[in-house]
């Protein structure tokens, strides 16, 4: 598939710059630190990764836009988008390629955190069901978050602006569930807010029940933002 040509270049480029190494160190280190050091793992005396996955959505808010902020903004700032757009690619191949490149990097960072469940399994009797569910959920949550981040990278030529926009919107997606509990919010709206909440969706997958609805939700969010991304890139030809 043509998208993999783009994904491969992005992947290589990430390893040619500090981006990949920082992410691969940051995500596992912070997750492990919050779980073992800051968290109450050793006090609770249970071999469970529930608290480990609780921290993941907020970390994703920071990490996903970091993998994507460069992808369109830098092409535009440096003018290399002119190369990409005059090579024989369809716009959707470019968008999907960049998405897959960033998601691949995030997936690699997640596999680097596998040390945590293996440590817990060594210390006690770990139920692997919720662990597998948690990682699947993380991948789905990651896909949606990366698509959001990538979209905002396409809106600006400044990487920092792209990151901040991505973080802000992802934060909103993660906090909207809290707004649902406010008394001023009518019930139908609070139900909608809960439906849109990334954290709530992820938590239900991380419990070990992979509901098709939750998977479809994250897939749908990713698809919508990738489509918008394509439209933004296409529209630029007419500027």
């Amino acid at each position: 598939m043509r998208s993999f040509v783009i994904a491969r270049r992005e992947w290589r480029s990430a390893f040619d710059t500090p981006v990949a190494y920082v992410l691969l160190a940051f995500l596992p280190a912070v997750l492990a630190a919050f779980f073992f050091v800051v968290g109450s793992f050793f006090d609770e005396q249970t071999a469970s990764l529930r608290r480990f996955f609780e921290n993941l959505p907020m970390l994703m808010v920071l990490a996903a836009p970091a993998t994507t902020m460069r992808l369109w903004a830098e092409e535009r700032r440096s003018g290399t988008e002119e190369l990409l757009m005059t090579y024989p690619f369809r716009v959707r191949e470019l968008v999907l390629g960049k998405f897959l490149g960033a998601l691949g990097l995030l997936a690699l960072a997640l596999t680097f955190t596998l040390g945590v469940p293996f440590t817990v399994a060594f210390l006690g009797d770990l139920d692997w069901g919720p662990v597998i569910g948690g990682y699947l959920g993380a991948l789905l949550l990651g896909a949606a978050s990366v698509a959001v981040g990538l979209f905002f990278s396409a809106l600006t030529r400044n990487q920092i602006v792209a990151w901040l926009l991505g973080v802000t919107v992802l934060l909103a997606f993660n906090l909207i569930g809290i707004a649902a509990t406010a008394t001023a919010v009518p019930p139908w709206l609070s139900a909608l807010f809960l439906d849109l909440d990334f954290g709530a969706r992820f938590a239900s997958i991380a419990r070990g029940v992979l509901d098709l609805q939750d998977a479809a939700f994250f897939g749908g969010v990713a698809a919508v933002f990738l489509c918008w991304n394509g439209l933004v890139i296409e529209a630029r030809r007419w500027s």
């Binding site: 040509v5 040619d16 002119e82 090579y87 030809r237 007419w238």
Partner: protein, 322 residues
């Protein structure tokens, strides 16, 4: 399918009525031109004339407001992928990925062009040799000199052996030596490829192209072989200085059939000298000045022809049209 109207059936580029505005700014106001297979055509105009916009539309990067662009008979707007496969493009300012190694980037360019396996390796070897990139093959692009970076830009445009090579200001920003090397490369490529290049300096087009298309304010003002444009013949500007008064110089030029353009400061600060800028009809005109000076025994101390500037060229073309 494109052999319908004028320009000949072998036109690699066929552009009709191209218009493009950026907000209130009209960059192209209806441009037509063709480029025949195997020729090297220079797209010449001052900065801001619309050259780059035309190239961006031709290569499918921008959409035109009106008009059409065909490459090898394929409408760029309707079949962008087929058209792009036939074009190798070096954009203005040569954008590249500085963090990537030359080899990695060119491998990406080859993959982007659908080359794989042995075909890709062969293509990379070919362009590395042709553009002389072996010395920096494993170096990050950002650490290469500007001359080498320009070659990388040229190599990515050549990797799929395209029918048409579009080079937007290929020597801009290079030092004179690098520019000369780049010109030599382009000249070599022009022997086997159809090349469309843009430039805002006349000598560059003179050195490389057989035909020039002159554009100004988004309109085409001339389109002819260089010899017919009279860039090298008629309208050659020359500085003339004599020992003697201004009157003597004026008489000399008049008798030699040269046109007085403007008085110039004379070189040695000597009150006994006079200098002027004059326009003559090519080499013959220069010879006549020298011969007349000898016959009239006017000491000629300077006769320095220079390439016509783009500004004066456009002024003259404008006068011709009026």
């Amino acid at each position: 399918m494109s052999s319908d109207a004028g320009g000949g059936a072998t036109a690699v580029v066929d552009v009709r009525g191209l218009e493009k505005s950026y907000g209130p700014v009209q960059a192209l106001r209806g441009i037509d031109f063709t480029v025949a297979a195997g020729s090297v055509v220079g797209f010449l105009g001052p900065n801001g004339a619309g050259k780059t916009t035309a190239m961006k539309i031709l290569t499918g990067f921008l959409a035109a407001d009106a008009g059409s662009a065909r490459v090898c008979g394929i409408l760029v707007e309707e079949h962008p992928l087929e058209a792009k496969r036939r074009i190798g493009y070096l954009p203005e300012n040569n954008p590249l990925y500085p963090e990537q190694k030359v080899a990695d980037f060119l491998a990406f360019a080859a993959r982007a062009r659908g080359l794989s396996g042995p075909a890709r390796r062969a293509a990379l070897e070919r362009v590395a040799e042709r553009t002389g990139l072996q010395a920096v093959w494993r170096r990050p692009i950002g650490e290469c000199s500007k001359g080498f970076r320009q070659r990388v830009g040229l190599a990515q445009a050549l990797v799929h052996d395209p029918d048409l090579l579009v080079l937007d200001e290929p020597t801009n920003g290079l030092d004179p030596l690098q520019a000369a090397e780049m010109r030599a490369l382009v000249r070599e490529l022009g022997e086997s490829k159809t090349v469309l290049l843009t430039s805002h300096v006349l000598p560059e087009v003179e050195a490389l192209a057989e035909r020039a298309i002159l554009i100004h304010h988004g309109r085409k003002v001339a389109d002819a072989p260089l010899s017919e444009l009279g860039l090298t013949g008629r309208g050659l500007e020359t500085r003339v200085a004599v020992r003697g008064g201004r009157a003597a110089l004026e008489e000399l030029l008049q008798e030699a059939g040269a046109q007085w353009l403007e008085a110039q400061p004379h070189p040695f600060g000597d009150e006994g000298c006079a200098a002027a800028l004059a326009e003559v009809d090519g080499c013959g005109g220069l010879e006549r000045i020298a011969a007349t000076a000898a016959a009239r025994r006017v000491p000629l101390i300077e006769l320095a022809p220079r390439a016509a500037g783009l500004a004066s060229l456009f002024r003259r073309l404008q006068e011709d049209q009026d």
